[in-house]
């Protein structure tokens, strides 16, 4: 599709929504598609916020976005005729974590204690998982800035599908079930008082947990959790707001996939989960499709003989096999979407590109093709 196909479905998706969340399994081009949607939005005159998680940092380099939690403006060359703007943030775990502590910690003293805590340092810098909270926390923060017309959110590569959307619930569960009140605080006090036995209700359970973790580990964890209790509360509150935001009328999910069997299996599961969680699906992008004209050329070439030994028919046969299989699998997507109540959702095929997306020009071309 070209630039002047003004009613292309990607444009339509952007026109109708303020928040677009890209989901899909790993390696399907989700980050690139998010960046392309943001670029397209800017071409349509919008002021766009792009929240991205790009482990490869390649796209960050191309877009000139510095890593971290602050938004920086993407400088498009003039010839690309971008009338709007894109402000991108490449989430860096530690920076966003520190920012959350900055925002929610009760006092300067607590904040400094948290930064100095050894568990905090390990968690904020090294462990996987928290990045998932981060995209949501950042989405909440930026959605409150009404100067942004469009917010595009790239999500973590799916290993556990939409689990990341349940993170706020895990936090809320932690607060609401009274883990702090009934387990952690009594234990902490008992330990402080030097009471050999752990007191009352939480006691039995805490000594049970201690049998597995060791008392020292629990002491450290308890101390850490008490320190960050307010931060967890803040996280949990903003998480709830995000879940609301994700259900708003002007929020839509965009499913990104390829035609590979494994991607389609993940896509089926994601569609199922989106339906179960009552989210709206605005578009499906099938990346790395085989260019139709190329398949025709391959068919022609297969019927030609070549004296050139460097170019084998074997190569062509492999490409043809790929092309036909992709076509067949693309057709199978319709029924999958239909089965989950998404039969009307527009599906766009995006052709494989031999050029890698690593310049703003190539990104803009990709955006035009959406």
């Amino acid at each position: 599709m070209s630039d002047d196909a003004a009613n292309s479905f990607a444009r339509d998706l952007i026109a109708k929504h303020r928040v677009i969340v890209a989901v899909g399994s790993g390696g399907v081009g989700k980050t690139t598609t998010s960046a392309a949607l943001a670029t397209l939005g800017a071409k349509m005159g919008r002021k766009v916020a792009l929240i991205s998680i790009d482990p490869a940092k390649r796209l960050a380099d191309a877009m000139g976005i510095s890593l971290g939690s602050t938004f920086s403006k993407v400088e498009f060359p003039e010839n690309l005729e971008v009338s709007g703007s894109v402000f991108g943030a490449m989430l860096d775990q530690k920076a966003v974590f520190d920012e959350m502590v900055q925002k929610w910690a009760k006092s300067d003293k607590v904040r400094e204690k948290i930064y100095a805590n050894s568990i905090y340092q390990a968690v904020s810098e090294n462990l996987g998982g928290p990045l998932e909270y981060m995209a949501l926390a950042k989405l909440h923060a930026i959605s409150e800035d009404s100067t942004f017309d469009l917010i595009i959110v790239d999500t973590p590569p799916d290993t556990h599908a939409l689990d990341f959307l349940d993170r706020p619930n895990a936090l809320a569960g932690f607060m609401e079930r009274g883990v702090m009140t009934w387990l952690i605080k009594p234990f902490h006090i008992a330990q402080k008082l030097g009471a050999g036995r752990i007191i009352r209700a939480g006691g039995k359970m805490m000594s049970g947990i201690a049998a597995v973790t060791g008392v020292k580990m629990l002491q450290m964890l308890a101390e850490f959790l008490i320190l960050i209790e307010d931060v967890i509360k803040g996280f949990s509150e903003s998480g709830k707001e995000v879940v609301k935001l994700l259900h708003q009328k002007d929020t839509s999910f965009a499913l990104v996939t390829t035609a590979q069997n494994s991607s389609l299996r993940s896509t089926k599961m994601l569609a199922q989960e989106l339906q179960a969680k009552n989210f709206s699906l605005g578009a499906v992008f099938i990346n790395r499709c085989f260019p139709e004209e190329l398949l025709k050329h391959i068919e022609t070439a297969l019927n030609q003989s070549s004296d050139d030994t460097r170019y084998s028919h074997h190569d062509l046969e492999i490409l043809a096999k790929k092309g036909y299989s992709i076509e067949a699998n693309v057709k199978s997507l319709g029924p999958i979407l239909h089965a989950h109540g998404f039969g009307d959702v527009p599906v766009g095929k995006v052709s494989e590109r031999k050029e890698n997306i690593h310049t703003l020009e190539s990104l803009a071309r990709f955006a035009d093709d959406l």
């Binding site: 049970g208 967890i232 022609t300 070439a301």
Partner: protein
């Protein structure tokens, strides 16, 4: 195949690389190859949807160790069940688990603890390799996470050990870590493809693995090379304008040129990096499409067509 013989001597193979690069196919291929040699193999993944079992004609096995074919077992490890198995089977606290860890309040607590999912996953890999008595597997193949996620998985033990905590879990973590970082027993394999930028990322990733975890890859697999690239992996790019009558030939030529250049740059980058001069680089042919279930001779054919790059 040198690299195959070398890699298959290990007890655990961890497969990683960029998303969508063919990790699962490589994992399944290695399993089939090893099983054909009489090894008892366990394929492990941890994902929302089973990706390994469909390659052997079984829709899903989930968190249940299942024999898919003779000598090929599979399991899709789920975090909550991993924690349970780690505490009950691995650490031997079955009764305690029932009494304490099934309580909602304790589950809410455990869910909040960072790194638990990663630690128990690594613990289970160790368990399948070293402690599992009923099956006694010869080889565990982990169809691992994509690069960034894989790195943080392997960094978790050190993060926990460095936080100053002590206790049974920590003690066990030390044992799991020592095992995973033993290159005689565990090998990491990076899967990549012959595109310059993708390869540069793979080399950067290899260096980070070595620097930050101490587990640099023992092999790099360059997946999806054109068969004709494999036939002449060392040939120079020839300027040739006679092929412009059909775009299919042009496409092939472009891809060949690109692949030659990329493979060349990979070998150079690896030998330049002080860490990976010894890493084996193997080029694997593009097979166009992975047909499910895999044919019985899939791995044999595929690996027979592979070439070592120098």
């Amino acid at each position: 195949m040198n690299f195959l013989n070398n890699i298959l001597k290990r007890k655990v193979i961890l497969i990683t690389g960029k998303g969508g690069i063919g990790k699962t196919t490589v994992a399944a291929g290695l399993a089939q190859y090893a099983a054909a040699q009489g090894k008892k193999v366990c394929l492990v993944e941890s994902s929302s949807r089973d990706q390994l079992s469909p390659l052997f004609g079984v829709d899903a096995v989930g968190h249940n160790l299942s024999e898919l074919q003779k000598n090929i077992f599979a399991i899709n490890l789920k975090p909550a069940e991993n924690f349970r198995d780690f505490v009950t089977i691995h650490l031997g606290f079955a009764k305690l688990f029932e009494r304490v860890f099934t309580k909602a309040i304790v589950q809410s607590f455990i869910k909040m603890l960072p790194g638990v999912a990663e630690l128990t996953l690594l613990g289970r890999l160790f368990y399948f390799s070293e402690l599992e008595k009923d099956q006694s597997f010869d080889l565990i193949i982990f169809d691992g996470f994509a690069s960034g996620h894989f790195l943080s998985l392997l960094k978790t033990p050190d993060a926990v050990l460095n936080s100053g905590m002590v206790g049974p879990i920590i003690k066990e973590t030390q044992r799991v870590r020592d095992f995973l970082l033993d290159p005689q027993r565990v090998a990491t394999v990076i899967v990549t493809m012959a595109e310059k930028i993708v390869m540069k990322e793979a080399v950067d990733f290899a260096v980070r693995l070595e620097k930050e975890v101490g587990a640099g890859p023992q092999a790099v697999i360059v997946n999806r090379c054109l068969p004709s690239t494999l036939d002449q992996p060392s040939s120079e790019i020839i300027e040739d304008n006679s092929l412009d009558q059909n775009q299919a030939w042009q496409y092939l030529k472009l891809r060949q040129d690109m692949e030659y250049a990329a493979v060349k740059s990979l070998s150079k980058a690896l030998s330049d990096s002080q860490y990976h001069s010894e890493t084996a680089v193997t080029l694997m042919p593009d097979i166009g499409w992975v047909t499910e279930p895999l044919a019985d001779n899939f791995a044999e054919t595929w690996f027979a067509a592979a070439k070592e790059a120098h």
